[in-house]
């Protein structure tokens, strides 16, 4: 579970990137985080993952505060950034072992798990290559495998489907559903409304640093006038704020 309580992030005295937002992402839920460019999505994700400090409020991940127990909170989630250009000089298996060590995955478990996940994402052949030789999609997959490796209760994914081939995209979506079915949490940002519509139990829309909608897709559609598409509804909401 992720609890975001009255969180604000100021840059300088004037600019509020995130303005007093409160959200609760429950266990067993796939939660989509939507918003136009510059709305505050990335800043929010950075605050949840401990990359950026909070100006006000607090964020709890499975009850652990990112402010007061940052290491405890960090052990609860796995994070995939939007740009997968990470530790490019390492080989696939070296990267995965590195991540497994950082998150304390037992030795006996990690080899089998790496095999299993690499096979599932069709990456087994590529594990002996360096990440710098991978395509964007392959880098994305190795990062996702890294997250799945330590099996965190909370998945935080920034634009996770960008660059993935259809099969991997399908696999990841299936895994997200499976993770939620197991009573765990998936929180991800996306620009693709159709993905949010098909995948998410609930969504939040952020604009100018404020949450302008939280609820299910059906609840969002109730805002529409007649047969309005999801896209035009999203544009209407974000433009009018």
């Amino acid at each position: 579970m992720i609890q975001i309580n009255g969180v604000t992030k100021n840059y300088g005295k004037e600019f509020k990137a995130v303005d007093n937002i409160t959200l609760e992402i429950k266990d067993g839920e796939i939660f989509g985080f939507l918003g136009p460019n510059g709305a505050g999505k990335t800043t929010t994700l950075k605050m949840i993952t401990g990359v950026t400090t909070l100006t006000a409020g607090d964020i709890l991940i499975n009850g652990k505060s990112i402010k007061t127990d940052d290491l405890g909170a960090k052990r609860e989630f796995g994070f995939v950034p939007d740009s997968p250009d990470v530790l490019l000089r390492l080989k696939g298996y070296e990267y995965l072992n590195f991540i497994a060590s950082i998150y304390g995955v037992p030795t006996e478990k990690r080899t089998a798990k790496i095999h299993e996940l690499a096979e599932r994402f069709e990456m087994l052949e590529a594990l002996n290559d360096r990440l710098q030789n991978y395509s964007h999609g392959m880098r994305q997959k190795i990062l996702i495998i890294g997250v799945l490796l330590h099996d965190p209760a909370v998945w935080i994914l920034d634009e996770p489907l960008t660059g993935l081939d259809p099969k991997s995209s399908f696999t990841l979506k299936e895994m997200m559903r499976e993770h939620a079915r197991n009573g765990k949490t998936v929180f991800f940002s996306t620009h693709v409304l159709e993905v949010a519509e098909k995948l998410c139990d609930r969504i939040a829309i952020i604009n100018h640093g404020k949450i302008i909608f939280v609820g299910t897709m059906d609840e969002l559609k109730k805002h529409s006038e007649g047969n309005q598409s999801l896209e035009s509804l999203f544009l209407e909401l974000t433009d009018h704020e």
Binding site: T53, R75, P81, R89, F98, A100
Partner: protein, 573 residues
């Protein structure tokens, strides 16, 4: 022609031109802005100070050498050495410039699909490389020529000839290194084996350095005369005669630098012509091969290496401790990047190799005198490195700070993570462990350097092993402190928004700040050394003082990192 300059201008801007990188800063929103006038002035003053120091040191070296050559009547021989040496010096740098601009530039893929002629790309690269070569020449060759002028008092024609010399000079090593690189590039796939290509080119550059160093240090001559001018003249004549096989070439620019008549100018124009001819040759050959080297190679496929992943994995997973994995990942990041090998690992290694070559060259050239020199040095060292002399530990502390400043491994450790450095903040590892892992490589490399120096002094002077051990411990702790200081500078203001690894280290001001901090601490230790000369304290006391100071500093640094927690990475956003 305009298009050619447009291409060159774009390439230059994209390569991160030095002038704008010095005057641009970032605001809180991480947008690039022009620095405030006061900040700009202070940065420019600092750069001016460093460039001025380099210029001055080259000038004083040149002044001493040309002054002696003039007095000893060996100016012609001196110029016969000067010309190949400056060519070799500039050649060392042009090797790196040619490798990175012509062959490994990341913007090649941007220019290839555009309707630009191959020679326009070649010219663009040549102009960008030349600008950089001229900058190097301005601090390395021009001060030597100024010193030469002060000694000989030139006429207008000689100064005109020197201008021609300075303008034409870089194009000779640039063209030669381009042709060599092109030949290597034709042998194997540059696009696919960029790292191997870079390592080969770096090795050639190192070979240049060694040839230069060994050649210059091994020309001492045996002599019984106490007249230093005679010794100097003999030594210069010896070196010049070793280089006589280049006389067919060096005689041309040498005439331009010495002959005050039109004959000198004609010779210098011939030198310019050689330079132009080499560039022309490069253009002709580049038309046929340069683009093929960049494009054609992509087509040659290679089989993916088959390997036993299970075996690799089980061997990899033997190391499970986060700290060790962090260090291992840090090490792999450095040794798998030719840029980092060349810029971070090579400087301290080269110091050892060059010093060893230089010592070996000098001692072997001196023959039996070499053994005598060592025999004379040993008692001096024994006196300095003894329990009775306390100041040596402080001076060694200053030397340690200088050694620490030789590599930018720690002062760029965070910056090298690049745009995704923020990910380290998401790992459930305490900042202290992460910081320790980050400084381990820098400390270890400089510790090896210190150890080699220590053992060398110990063997020459046959020092007391207990003394050596006692002085080594505080110095190692000091090395950790120095690396921590450099790392903290980088953590506070990391340079993450770089385009390529060369920019990550070369355009990183933290490297400079880290070096200045080490020098600052080194000056303090030097000052303490002088004070202790007057205070006449023995080595036991100085060991205790330095150890206590180093441990206190270390505890204070680690304590503040623990207290700050994740805020220690505040600069990473």
């Amino acid at each position: 022609m305009n298009r050619m300059f447009l291409v060159a201008k774009t390439m230059y801007k994209n390569s991160g031109d030095i002038f704008s990188s010095l005057t641009m800063g970032k605001n809180k929103g991480k947008r690039e802005v022009v620095m405030s006038p006061s900040k700009k002035a202070s940065v420019l003053l600092l750069v001016l100070f460093i460039v001025g120091s380099l210029f001055f040191s080259m000038y004083t070296t040149g002044s001493a050498l040309f002054g002696l050559a003039h007095d000893a009547g060996v100016m012609n021989e001196m110029l016969s050495i000067f010309i190949p040496v400056v060519l070799l010096m500039i050649g060392m740098f042009t090797l790196t410039l040619v490798t990175s601009f012509f062959f490994l530039s990341t913007d090649t893929n941007v220019f290839l699909p555009l309707p630009i002629k191959p020679e326009e790309i070649f010219f663009g690269r040549l102009i960008v490389s030349s600008i950089n070569a001229f900058l190097i020449e301005a601090v390395m060759v021009v001060p030597l020529l100024v010193a030469y002028n002060v000694v000989i008092g030139p006429n207008v024609l000689i100064i005109f000839n020197q201008i021609l010399f300075v303008v034409a000079l870089p194009f000779i090593p640039l063209s030669i290194t381009f042709l060599v690189a092109l030949a290597i590039g034709r042998i194997f796939n540059v696009a696919k084996h960029k790292e191997a290509f870079s390592i080969i080119m770096s090795s050639v550059a190192i070979l240049f350095i060694l040839v230069l160093e060994f050649g210059l240090s091994s020309t001492a001559v045996e002599t019984t005369t106490p007249d230093y001018l005679v010794i100097f003249a003999d030594s210069i004549r010896g070196t010049a005669s070793q280089l006589s096989f280049l006389e067919f070439f060096t005689s041309i620019p040498r005439a331009g630098l010495t002959d005050t008549t039109y004959v000198g100018t004609l010779n210098m124009l011939l030198f310019v012509l050689i330079s132009v001819a080499l560039v022309a040759l490069s253009i002709v050959i580049s038309k046929g091969f340069y683009m093929k080297t960049l494009i054609g190679n992509e087509d040659r496929g290679s089989k993916r290496k088959k390997s036993d992943i299970g075996k690799e994995l089980s061997s990899e997973t033997k190391t499970t401790r986060p700290y060790l994995n962090l260090v291992r990942s840090e090490w792999r990041g450095i040794v798998r990047s030719p840029t980092y090998i060349f810029n971070l690992l090579m400087p301290p290694v080269l110091v050892i190799v060059i010093m060893s070559f230089s010592m070996y060259g000098s001692l072997s050239a001196a023959g039996d005198e070499g053994t005598d020199i060592l025999a004379q040095i040993a008692p001096m060292l024994q006196g300095a490195f003894s329990f009775h002399e306390g100041s040596t530990t402080f001076f060694a502390g200053a030397a340690v700070m200088f050694i620490a400043s030789m590599t930018m491994i720690s002062s760029t450790a965070i910056s090298r993570e690049g745009k995704n450095a923020f990910l380290i903040k998401t790992w459930p590892i305490s900042p202290v462990i992460q910081m320790r892992a980050k400084l381990t490589i820098g400390t270890a490399i400089t510790a090896v350097l210190l150890f080699v120096g220590f053992v060398a002094v110990g063997i020459i002077a046959q020092l007391n092993p207990i003394y050596m051990l006692m002085s080594f411990i505080p110095l190692i702790i000091l090395l950790v402190v120095a690396n921590y200081a450099m790392l903290l500078v980088d953590a506070a203001h990391p340079f993450l928004d770089w385009e390529n690894e060369t920019a990550a280290v070369k355009q990183n001001k933290n490297g400079l700040w880290g070096m200045l901090i080490c020098w600052g601490i080194g000056i303090v230790f030097g000052g303490l050394g002088f004070l202790s000369l007057f205070a006449r304290i023995n080595a036991i006391w100085s060991f205790l003082i330095v150890t206590a100071a180093a441990v206190a500093l270390l505890l204070w640094i680690e304590g503040s990192i623990k207290k700050k927690g994740p805020a220690v990475f505040k600069g990473i956003q």
